[in-house]
Symmetry: C2
Subunit: 326 residues, 2 copies
């Protein structure tokens, strides 16, 4: 079995070998640019590890794995237009470096290129792979639309927020693992257990992201904390704080978020909001939530009909995603 | 064999039976809205007619046929954002009725839904179908990018223009026919001949569109003529006129298009440009070009290994597309 590092090297080498050039260059330059930004390549890594877990041939799965990474990057290009986000991984986003039209169209092309990679796999499971991938693609769009809707809604519940991050983030983690398992020829029950494992890991992963954004160690996290607070994002921390706060505290918190507090600067706002979060102990609540999703994930993994020893590599890699401080 | 009208009824019934509803409604309402606008449903009609031509079962092809129509409509939603087009088929475009973000995301969803339909077909030819469809989807994006590029370029050649409309319009007509033939189990040679037939019909179809936009009978065409002239679109008519004009006439024409002629109104501009077109006989040149593509198309159809009698229905339907005055 491969180690995660070996798999990540295989993925990097594959990306190096792929040439996303073509004409017109306006269409392909943003695609190369986006892929050269790097990223953790979590989805293809999970796909190949799942394939390897069931003794599948990762050579047969590599193109599909790349396809899932292309899909993920396509969603980032379009999300950045919708979110007016000028920077990603410290660099100009595509719509900022070029323009919105080029970002829309190079994103569309990348979506098609994702399918081009996904369908390269030479297996008899093509239909199953495409069913899983296409269902997930639709759900990711639904999640992004909910995210947009919640920006202007003032009464988002925690359950609604969790459903949004499930669709926007967790299902693609689940699908990556499931598709890897399908390519390895796994039965329905195990590929479904792996999906559920991934979906719960994905939930925990996103909640960890929310936590780190506010309370991460800036040196390790690699960017300034408090971004979500500055952008008034209604993350789990904010929603839980609203739930736990008394009327006065809730009003105070909401005033920070709807911007009635113009006499303080960004840094003061971050500090004040974090202080409220800590007083209400929402950092502890989110950690409980993360652990609860992690436990659910482990339960699904326990159901997978393989010896524990085989599962270690994938569990360890998932742990690094969960217990990261960056 | 089915008549085009029968096939169109089958397609309409299928669209009626499909429910593109879901949550969040912001995502699905624009999809229903777009599909209810109607349209000629040319692509699914051609796909089913091609399937029928080779004695394929159109029941097996109908979902894929719907998928190609969904793909076409997805491109229209995104094109309308990029072109700032407020109206389509007399109604508000999606980005105008809702907003750009919703148009981007409901378009993305529609692209995924297109694949969902395409992959529903239960045939052993799934890989071939997806290869053809995905290649075409990428080419359509390339065509749209060229179209955007040409808006601000002053030295577009006729060859470049023809390549742009080939990618933006003709390849999808070709692919519709090819995929129908694939589903019917046709051999490589015949499905490829059918593709080439469709591509050339598609070229003629788009050039006819250019011609009708300037010189169509407004009562039959269903909209005011001269839209391309008002929008300074460098269609075949304009490019051919530039080629044939002497220096003075070319300058005059360019002045209309780069808007140095502010002392005349839209209607005067349309009349003046059309007069130049007629004087240079570019309407005759475009008709020759249309006929030339049509002849090429017929040559490819002649190569298809079926008796002439069988080909009649598809040829007649293609004729109605070519020799339409609306």
């Amino acid at each position: 079995m491969y180690n995660p590092e070996e798999i990540q090297n295989i993925i990097s080498a594959k990306f190096e070998s792929l040439v996303f050039k073509g004409k017109p260059t306006e269409l392909y330059a943003p695609i190369s640019y986006t892929l050269k930004m790097g990223g953790k390549r979590i989805r293809p890594t999970l796909l190949l590890m799942a394939c390897d877990l069931f003794d599948g041939d990762i050579e047969i799965a590599i193109d599909t794995a790349i396809g899932l990474e292309l899909f993920h990057n396509f969603t980032l290009i379009h999300d950045d237009i919708m979110d007016n986000a000028p920077l990603r991984r410290g660099k100009d986003t595509v719509y900022k470096k070029w323009n919105s039209n080029i970002a829309i169209l190079s994103g569309d092309t990348m979506f098609a290129l994702a399918y081009k990679q996904v369908i390269k796999t030479k297996t008899s499971y093509l239909q199953k792979i495409l069913d899983a991938f296409t269902k997930t693609a639709i759900e990711v769009c639904e999640g992004q639309q909910l995210d947009l809707n919640y920006e202007t809604l003032n009464n988002v519940s925690i359950l609604e927020y969790l459903e949004m991050i499930r669709l926007k983030t967790a299902v693609l983690i689940g699908a990556s693992l499931k598709i890897g398992a399908i390519i390895a020829g796994t039965n329905e029950k195990d590929s479904s257990n792996l999906y559920n494992f991934g979906e719960n890991i994905g939930m925990a992963f996103q909640l960890k992201d929310d936590l780190l954004d506010a309370f991460g160690d800036e040196n390790k996290f690699g960017k300034k904390t408090g971004g979500d607070i500055v952008e008034n994002k209604k993350t789990y921390l904010f929603l839980k704080a609203c739930e736990l706060a008394d009327n006065n505290k809730r009003l105070e918190l909401n005033n920070f978020y709807i911007g009635n507090n113009h006499n303080i600067n960004q840094q003061q706002k971050i500090e004040a909001v974090k202080e409220i979060f800590l007083k209400l102990e929402v950092n502890k609540h989110i950690e409980q939530e993360i652990n609860s999703y992690y436990k659910k994930a482990i339960n699904y993994m326990n159901e997978v009909s393989l010896p524990d020893l085989k599962k270690e590599k994938l569990l360890n890699f998932s742990n690094t995603l969960m217990y990261r401080d960056f």
